[in-house]
Symmetry: C2
């Protein structure tokens, strides 16, 4: 009954689709991961790409996070303007436009950046010069994901030396995003890279690992000083599938209305790829419908979610409001300017997604 | 050289990724489709979901479009506030929140809406009552796509009669989105539905067809009075693949920087699923890189586009700025608040994507 009232109230005040966050669940998620980090003595540096909200970043900080991680310079600027401090930008920053902004940001906030190649390192002194202070740089290392990061220990050591040799730059350590259950490979890489830089008198003060799924292995890689997890704050269907969250840990749902039941085995939601996005996260179907878990959101048009109801006994009717746990929550938050915030089953306000739209 | 200068100027002023629109190409696209419509005597009612910009909608109107099509009530509100008139909202509108807004919109603008079921029709008189004037309603018919729309002629006729029987509603005609090359099936449906409603003294004043790929068949379905095409204004890799556009008809490109070359056969762009989106449009890879057409954007992280360079002889290096024609342009525009506008190879300003973020 309470859920039905909340649905009607959200539809009445905001219309659907509405992207709704339960702050009680958010707080539990924040506290749980902070406790995990505290238990193994690893600093918590949550990734704000998931929520893009200074308000939620402040909740994470106030619960004990050491600082925050941003994926874009623009995210870092928004967070810094809101008073968040100690920011790791886990991204290669390149080009005059961004180096100027990075310099101005560094002049007023503690910032660390990542680099995985000499071209990026060669540009960073410009930012330090603008700020008039040293810029901490971590070497991004790829221990198997084939994303960003140097692939060999020799490259990691060479890049660390390159950083240390540049005016205004300090080698700060290593940044990892280990593949899941690749602890021994990652440990071997990290140990060799650490030994390698020590030969040149360099010391990794920071060793940053990342990923919500990797929280199960927190504390297992020796030498890691801090962890960047993003998704845990809201969770999503990917985290459910990975066994990293239970349904009651999913803080964000998209409230949608069934707008058509054009055939007996199909229906249409008013949420398509412009709301839930086409990110599948490697899963079949797009999102879990809490009221009809056996329904499948089979495909999207921009404003239509096409439901396959063939496996449903209880089929939704036109006008029904349903709640969807999206496959990938980070990209859904990025679609909207505001999240509707609820607590104890009541609407308590709206949370601006302030760092959305910061393309650069 | 001119292209290289433009790239550097865009990177310097806006940073990358930047979503850039060539207004010369936009104007040519607008003129070409208007001429196609004029040649066969079908009114042009472009779909603004592609650009979400009143400025570009006004260009379409000034070139001869009869009115515009919107997929969201919020889009229609933004367009009406900017002075666009004669708006078809090609969507089932449901619920107190939206019906109130629809009523207020109708009180100041000519609006037509679509409906494909009796629940939607039953709600619409609320909007007409608020506006104090009649609301034109078209019956959405599905002639094979299995999207929105009634699937049978009998349902179409019954819904037309239902509309005509409601206070404040006028049956205005039919809305179709025919599958490509399904002219005879669509013609048969339309003829039967038209005959069906005429038996009850109803006349379809509007028969609206849609889709950029369907422009090749413009004029072939007898009885169609107007056409809704969206993508043609910018075009994209889907339209290239469908033979509906040449490269020089693609008005929108995403300027991106190569930020990593972590392995010899791979690279990373600063554009991921939060810029180019995961919409594949049924194609392999995510976007066409103009400078390296043999490169594949194989997959995305949120802010990373992972390049497979194995088929490239000329491989981009870190710092290179490249231009990407996205697979599906409508969803890319929806990611950003502003488009960078160029003309004659020069930056001429920014175009706000004013109707972005209108979730409802």
């Amino acid at each position: 009954m309470r859920v039905q009232n909340l649905k009607e109230e959200i539809a009445r005040r905001f219309g659907t689709p509405a992207v709704v966050v339960d702050l009680d669940v958010v707080e539990r998620n924040i506290a749980r991961v902070q406790a995990l980090c505290d238990a193994v003595g690893v600093a918590n540096r949550p990734h704000v790409k998931t929520h893009k909200s200074p308000l939620i970043a402040a909740m994470q900080r106030d619960a004990g996070a050491r600082g925050i991680t941003c994926q874009k310079l623009g995210e870092a600027e928004v967070m810094a303007a809101a008073g968040l401090d100690d920011i790791l930008i886990s991204y290669n920053i390149l080009g005059e436009h961004k180096l100027g902004r990075l310099g101005r940001l560094l002049s007023r906030t503690k910032v660390t950046v990542a680099a995985d190649n000499p071209t990026v390192v060669a540009g960073l002194p410009q930012a330090a010069a603008i700020a008039g202070r040293n810029l901490d740089v971590v070497v991004e290392c790829d221990t198997g994901r084939k994303r960003a990061g140097v692939e060999t220990v020799a490259e990691a050591v060479a890049l660390a030396r390159d950083i240390a040799s540049r005016p205004g730059l300090s080698f700060a350590g290593f940044m990892l995003y280990p593949p899941e259950s690749a602890i021994s490979e990652t440990q071997a890489f990290l140990d060799a890279a650490t030994a390698g830089v020590r030969e040149f008198g360099l010391e990794p003060r920071i060793v940053s690992s990342g990923g919500t799924p990797n929280l199960v292995d927190l504390g297992k890689i020796k030498g890691v000083t801090e962890h960047r997890a993003g998704t845990y704050v809201f969770n999503d269907r990917m985290m459910l599938a990975a066994g990293m969250a239970r349904l009651e840990d999913c803080a964000l749902t998209v409230y949608a209305t069934v707008v058509s039941r054009a055939g007996p085995e199909r229906g249409i939601l008013d949420s398509g790829s412009k709301t839930l996005t086409s990110d599948t996260g490697g899963l079949e179907g797009h999102g879990l419908i809490l009221e009809h878990p056996e329904a499948q959101i089979a495909r999207f048009a921009e404003e239509h979610g096409f439901l396959d109801l063939s496996r449903c006994n209880d089929r939704p009717k036109v006008g029904d409001i349903i709640r969807v746990v999206p496959n990938h929550v980070c990209v859904v938050v990025n679609m909207v300017d505001r999240l509707v915030a609820v607590r104890g089953g009541e609407i308590v306000g709206e949370i601006p997604v302030e760092a959305r739209g910061q393309l650069t």
